[in-house]
Subunit: 344 residues, 2 copies
């Protein structure tokens, strides 16, 4: 790298030296590895899906959902940040990270209308402030990440990984929290699932203890799907969704030299069992290896699903070594895949 | 680093090998430097601030603002993403980066109610989709960053820097775009400035050509300020705001071994001239070195201010070497500082 620098005086010379040293120092610094730890979650009260008003009027869809594995969903009277608080407390405990060592907070959410109020930056800043204050994390600024819907959590984790790998941050708390307002529909189009209220959280850390090594993250997008009406053109919608899923995972696997059967478990959204079979086909991960225990309990907790499933999977596996785990978050036009390996 | 890995069979052994090689490879990879290039912006039509309805009714505030350097503000009939489109086209041209080489897009905004409609994820995804499609950038997923108000752009740039320094991305397009709805107030509390509609953009790149080396970024937060009513307790508000500004810059300078007089220019928010003098005192940068030309033209363009000022400063300086430039974005309880040095 060549620098043609102008040394016009004493001040400039010092500044140029500072910059040169910085570039030298940074270029000789190794990229850190990033580890995900302390995956946890909180849900509201679990109610039978038959209590959802829309399903009372549409017993066909209700029957289909019940046949395909759905049973209860999470209904919260608490605000998203209140659910987040419980989840984050569990995360901090499980991760064994001192709160003073958490140096950034990223909040993944689609729910800017979550209190039934229109979006107002100051209102949400105050909610985030109360949350961080109550958690002894008010030294963190906090950032909101949105626009990728059910894949927001993957987007947030990828941004956290960048901060950690580059050495800018040591421990980034990532959390998701979404609750529906009473007037919002709880049905996912095409009988895919029912939407629940939930929060989930984890820490992306430069320290490996108690963590999963984050091998790779990959997002795949098909913006064109936003323009397709799935009701009137289901076959196109279905085909491109399937391609979106396989694209996200294939690109990830190619970067790692992996195949679907290398993964001990696939943790994905809690959607109906028929969709899980499609996901199995597209990812080439055997359907028996897809974590499905939470479908009947929690249904689809927006972008929190994959951390919820990771938290429960981790509890079952505690202390055991494992092969890589594949996480897949599917949105309506964007998909995010992440490969993790548990460190022992 | 020690790995106690379980080799239970052929599959596990291959997976363990993949992971070990990855960790080895990543740990031997140097952190990239990150460069900011192509700062550009777009505003609406410039109207006298005396046309603002609230100021017609409050001639005292109007007179104060006019005395303290304000003249016109930007009023846009276009949507924020339309302003963003023009700005991004200029950024791509100025940066000399091929669009196919842009691999991520981050959108900094506080304006989720920007069309006067309540926040709806699908609506905003569609707007972002149209924007990226019209720019030949639909291979990018796009993420929204919020919660830091006028400091959103610093938060977005820091996230982009993490992605670039870690080697995950080569060129991240960062843009900000905010327009007020007709019913929203254009007055910043305490006669600080008037709010304008604008968009701004830049590319954070791993390639140095045409760029500024991003030396350091630092955010400082005082969540407690959110709870202070500046009208009834102005002295506390003022004191803590001043401390917030000096804290953000002092921490940055300490990490670089710099002092205020090392900076050739301070690019900050377009607020009234009296506030600029306070900023000068708190940052220890001479008031003559604060870029103030856009105060009378544009007033306060939310988080776009600092990129707007950088774009115009860059035009004036084109081809010339420079000492470091300090960028400071001030929000109501959070401050972001960034040090840049122009590469030649």
């Amino acid at each position: 790298m060549l620098f043609h620098w102008f040394y016009g005086g004493k001040g400039e010379s010092r500044s140029a030296l500072v910059m040169k040293n910085l570039i030298k120092e940074r270029s000789s610094q190794a990229v850190s590895c990033a580890y995900l730890k302390g995956a946890s979650y909180e849900v509201g009260s679990l109610r039978p899906i038959s209590e959802i008003e829309e399903l009372k009027k549409d017993t066909n869809t209700l029957d289909t959902l019940l046949t395909l594995g759905l049973e209860t969903f999470s209904l919260s009277t608490k605000k998203p940040v209140e659910l987040a608080k419980s989840s984050i407390e569990k995360t901090v405990d499980r991760a064994g990270v001192d709160r003073s060592q958490i140096d950034e907070v990223i909040y993944a959410t689609s729910g800017y209308a979550m209190s039934g109020k229109p979006w107002c930056p100051v209102h949400y800043s105050k909610e985030l402030n109360s949350l961080l204050l109550s958690l002894n994390l008010s030294h963190c600024t906090g950032m909101g990440v949105s626009f990728s819907q059910c894949v927001n959590i993957i987007a947030a984790i990828e941004l956290a990984v960048g901060l950690v790998e580059s050495g800018r941050k040591k421990n980034v708390l990532v959390f998701s929290a979404d609750c529906l307002s009473p007037h919002e529909s709880r049905l996912v189009d095409n009988g895919i699932s029912v939407i629940s209220d939930a929060a989930a959280s984890c820490i992306v850390s430069s320290e490996q203890n108690n963590g999963y090594f984050i091998e790779a993250i990959n997002k795949n997008i098909d913006w064109g799907l936003l323009e397709i009406d799935s009701a009137s053109d289901f076959s196109t919608f279905f085909k491109r969704t399937a391609e979106g899923i396989s694209g996200a995972v294939q690109q990830l696997n190619q970067s790692l030299g992996r195949v679907g059967s290398d993964y001990e478990q696939l943790l994905t959204n809690s959607v109906n069992l028929s969709i899980l079979r499609i996901i199995s086909r597209q990812t080439k991960v055997d359907v028996d290896r897809i974590y499905s225990k939470n479908i009947s309990r929690f249904a689809h907790c927006d972008c929190s699903d994959i951390l919820i499933n990771l938290a429960d999977y981790e509890l079952e596996k505690e202390g055991e070594k494992s092969d890589p785990v594949l996480l897949l978050a599917s949105g309506p036009y964007v998909w995010g895949a992440m490969s993790l390996v548990r460190m022992c």
